[in-house]
Symmetry: D2
Subunit: 352 residues, 4 copies
């Protein structure tokens, strides 16, 4: 079988270099082009020396037609760019996996409010499939346009999924206390993410409102079958990669009495994720650390049931650039093109 021709729109950020790291060793993919307006003509390995000997492409202009000849294009651009290219790329027969937020919210008005711009192609939004395989695997297989989930939403949704799907918790007061490494903020220079500002310190941010809040609520609503209430508190951790979501929910509903025992909760999670190649439910009383998934596509989950009251605590970790971005995008590509879902995604976490 001939290899898939893959292109990357906007390859100078962290999701771009991560796609290159993964696709550069994918057995069924030929990296065909990678674009950057600002770096056109520059060898990729000149900007990213870690790719010397791995990627021999130069950055090209996105308007030169190369993307249109690809089987699949990954959009690793800032928000608002992918939607400007989507129509023509789809028309050319290319399938799209958008790692930005352009097609994640089904409610276009809500999207426009949070992202502060008019949507360039609202008519394409309904067609976009939300690329969380553990929720939408079958739809992803047939999709032309996949909205790859945000990094926080991936961990929070996978963490809450079994409980909410089974209607076992109160959905009006879910709490997601989430912590992210600094790479989640992207590669562009900002004072807040300078080494001397983010290093050796810890803080919350965006408590009053964060763009991933509506995205998580949409996903939780899909699972619950109705709107949910969510408090989402993101924090910045002085580490490079990794998200740790600490999730709180109160047991409720018909079957919840059976879950008072931790064993039953544990079984619920193990059963739900039994066939999932990239979700690992740890044994009871575990505390996953983010480094255990550093560089890998795994989301690792532990289930806890503290003494006081009827609250369940779920711990979920992922590498925000892999399962939270580029790795999940490749997982989606594998599904869309009938490849083995794990192709190119067998890298072992880098520990220590």
């Amino acid at each position: 079988m001939s290899k898939l021709k893959a292109g990357i729109l906007g390859g100078t950020g962290y999701t771009g270099i991560e796609l290159l790291r993964i696709l550069g060793r994918h057995p069924s993919v030929e990296l065909s082009c990678i674009t950057s307006r600002s770096e056109t003509g520059r060898p990729v390995a000149d900007l990213f020396p870690s790719l010397r000997g791995v990627v021999s492409l130069d950055f090209t202009d996105p308007g030169d037609g190369a993307l249109e000849s690809c089987d699949v294009v990954f959009c690793a651009t800032p928000n608002g760019i992918a939607m400007q290219h989507a129509r023509s790329l789809l028309a050319a027969g290319t399938r799209l996996i958008d790692l930005s937020a352009d097609f994640r919210l089904r409610d276009v008005a809500e999207w426009e409010q949070w992202y502060g711009m008019a949507h360039a192609c609202p008519d394409l939004v309904p067609e976009a499939v939300y690329g969380l395989p553990e929720m939408f695997r079958e739809s992803i297989r047939g999709a032309r346009l996949v909205a790859n989930p945000g990094c926080y939403p991936t961990s929070v949704l996978l963490g809450f999924l079994p409980l909410v799907e089974a209607r076992l918790v109160k959905t009006d007061r879910l709490i997601a206390d989430a912590k992210s490494g600094v790479s989640g903020a992207g590669r562009s220079a900002k004072t807040d993410h300078a080494f001397c500002e983010a290093g050796d310190s810890f803080k919350a941010y965006g408590v009053a409102g964060h763009r991933h809040h509506p995205e998580i609520r949409q996903g939780l609503g899909d699972l619950a079958g109705h709107a949910v209430g969510l408090v989402f508190t993101p924090h910045l951790v002085p580490m490079i990669r990794g998200i740790h979501a600490t999730l709180y929910a109160q047991l409720d509903g018909a079957g919840s009495a059976d879950l008072q025992a931790l064993q039953a909760l544990q079984a619920l999670y193990e059963n739900r994720y039994a066939g999932e190649p990239f979700v690992d439910v740890m044994p009871q009383d575990s505390h996953p650390d983010t480094r255990s998934v550093r560089g890998s596509n795994i989301c690792r989950i532990a289930v806890h049931r503290p003494r006081d009251g009827n609250t369940v605590v779920i711990l979920a970790v992922e590498d925000n650039l892999v399962k939270g971005a580029a790795g999940q995008a490749v997982q989606n590509m594998n599904l869309m093109f009938g490849l083995d879902e794990t192709d190119g995604l067998d890298r072992v976490s880098l520990v220590p």
Copy 2:
């Protein structure tokens, strides 16, 4: 006025060196002795080169009688040691500030269960005053024996205090999602706290139970006037100093309707802490970072009121070794001896 003679029992850990840093520049204190069984005879500045030129003492044996001649002794020992010295030191007329956990829990049986040993002097426990000046200032002034609070409890109690004291939130489902720098685990070598284990990673720990849980519950119970329900989730942050407590409570009760507006919440906190020298309520929509209190005795707090539901989110940061340990101990000493409460505690945070 002659200077206070201060001694330190067990000075080789992080609270020990932090006491030396602060007391070494305190205008009314003469550092009289510092003990260590393992390092007896060794110059303090040999073990801690940062104290060269600041502290000229050698470590001495705790049994040589020097502690008994001090006006005040700080116990910076592992749990279980201070209680063995307390009776004789008090009998000698020395006043004690115990930075370990030996006298923090009024319920001796609960203490023995959590700390896994019999208490050496349960009769002294009722006399001990819990050294959180914002709650117990007047009692501290007259105390012979102060139980200096734990690092997590200080931030969690100061964060919840105005809400719980005013009976404005449901106290059966309080949540404290707390994050600590690695120095909270002390200076002794453990694999888990090695640079290559704790660095560039993030995890929760002790979710099933942590010794600070009963201590926080005791304090919250004092504020509420009845037992409370608390979920406490500690996490380890790859930074050296600092605790960030993210606190969740649901508004409830008579006056809580007035707090639906963020302005009223903000005013509640500002009023409660108006006269406190070491609690800083930030303006609305702030996100305190732990570095803003690095090396200082400040606890900095911000109040948030997210959209969904009726949950209040409080952010509280402190330096676990200062307001969470040695700084608060010196604050207590200042109160006990009629000094200005801020003496020796005017150091500005080290940023960046």
Copy 3:
């Protein structure tokens, strides 16, 4: 005695905030104004929350005349700004301490080549005193205009000083392998100094040429009495503060035979720095770590004499923002105004 009125020109960078940290607690200084064109009107403590309760000033416009009424002005501006203000401030009777590079090189042509601009007041350059007290204490006392040394030059010059001054090493092949924390690069946002770029990694930079090279050579030449040959290799360390200079020199000359023994070398350093309040020569076989001077004005030095050949290895550490910048500037101010040289500079290093 009335307090000195001190102003800061350009206070939004790391040397600015560090001056505020030190001057905010200086017993003989009244902080009079701090300027910033971009932040005019904003409270200083709003930009730097760590200064809440310490500094109550707002940033003001540098052209509003307030600087001219100060007894002393610290220039904490990027290179090229101080020289534009120097003449008028001096004319107003203010004394200047320039923390930028504008007055450090006596050779104006060389300055213009390295800094890529014409010098605005070459006639003032000869008057400027290089503010390294250990070399030029007496001249500093009488100076109107002090060129505060660069961070690298301070550590490299203090490390080499006793050997070069005593004519005991070959001066045509000195090597300074220097390592700096990221704060040395300033507070402005640059991709290279982002947390995810500089974190968990190490590299050399500027090996082909660095602006501190001519500055160090000038100082070494002053010590040697003739031009010297120096290889200077700066490196970037994933830490916030601190410089570690590892210096290599080959023994040579009349007295050098006596130095073959480490004891003699050790004595040379101890004697030379015996009266210096801010240079600490450690005992033999020591390895100073940068954290031992974190936040303090100390330069800590260790002397080594490896087996092979006749090379001496000197280790020198400093906090680049204190002894390498703001602390040394305050030390110079103390000298210029007849204060105790250590006033305001007694802060103990923050360890851990």
Copy 4:
């Protein structure tokens, strides 16, 4: 072809887990056993959760005979253990790759002095091949017993190799200023390598003498054809993985005049390493950072020629756990068993 049966003697340290990471995905290797006296019976993935789903073995006792049935055994033990197993394993027909120092020094007396113990099998020392493929590739192919180089020696030798081999520098005054991440010190708990001790700080260590000094001198002597003089200064960097060697040599000898130009130096290095799969000579004026080789088997080198004098500066980076340990061991295994030298070693560096 059937897979190689590989065993690991002593698998609980960082080189052990790194071998598992690499061998767990090696196309021609079946991981057969991994031993640990202290963890016998415990699943490997229980100790190292990052290996869940990758390694299904339990730790076994080294005396149970399983190692003897392997085609190749990697010794990832502390110094002094491999030499106790070597004779019996070789007698059983197993080939050995020792990642510890037991067989690195040909001079047994010198080894015994530095490592403080008697050598258990001095008769095997002459047979051991020093496993640096770029120097000894052909001998490695035929070896039964390979002494895998230390982490520092690998980077220093690869950095100096072209210059020394071609007799172009003075060999009596070579200087290696080397910097290592903390993982180089291993996984056992030591206070010095605790997060709060090694973090946010930088220091030299072992300046008076380090075990890698004789090993590097031996290798440089092999290259030079005679004994050399070397000053070796190791430093500890607050990062997890990575070594950066900054090397200084003075040009000398017949051909050195031609090297005054940087271009000639650059060509020397490019030519020498043209066919090497794991040495990457960067373009002129480059500064390799350690992260560019994080997790990969590459040693990346840049050549510099500063202005003053006739000193050459070489920068060489490697991942101390890969090219400096486990990766190089697998490279040696590939050579010993006639596999493609790069098998299992195609992982792309993890950046950021």
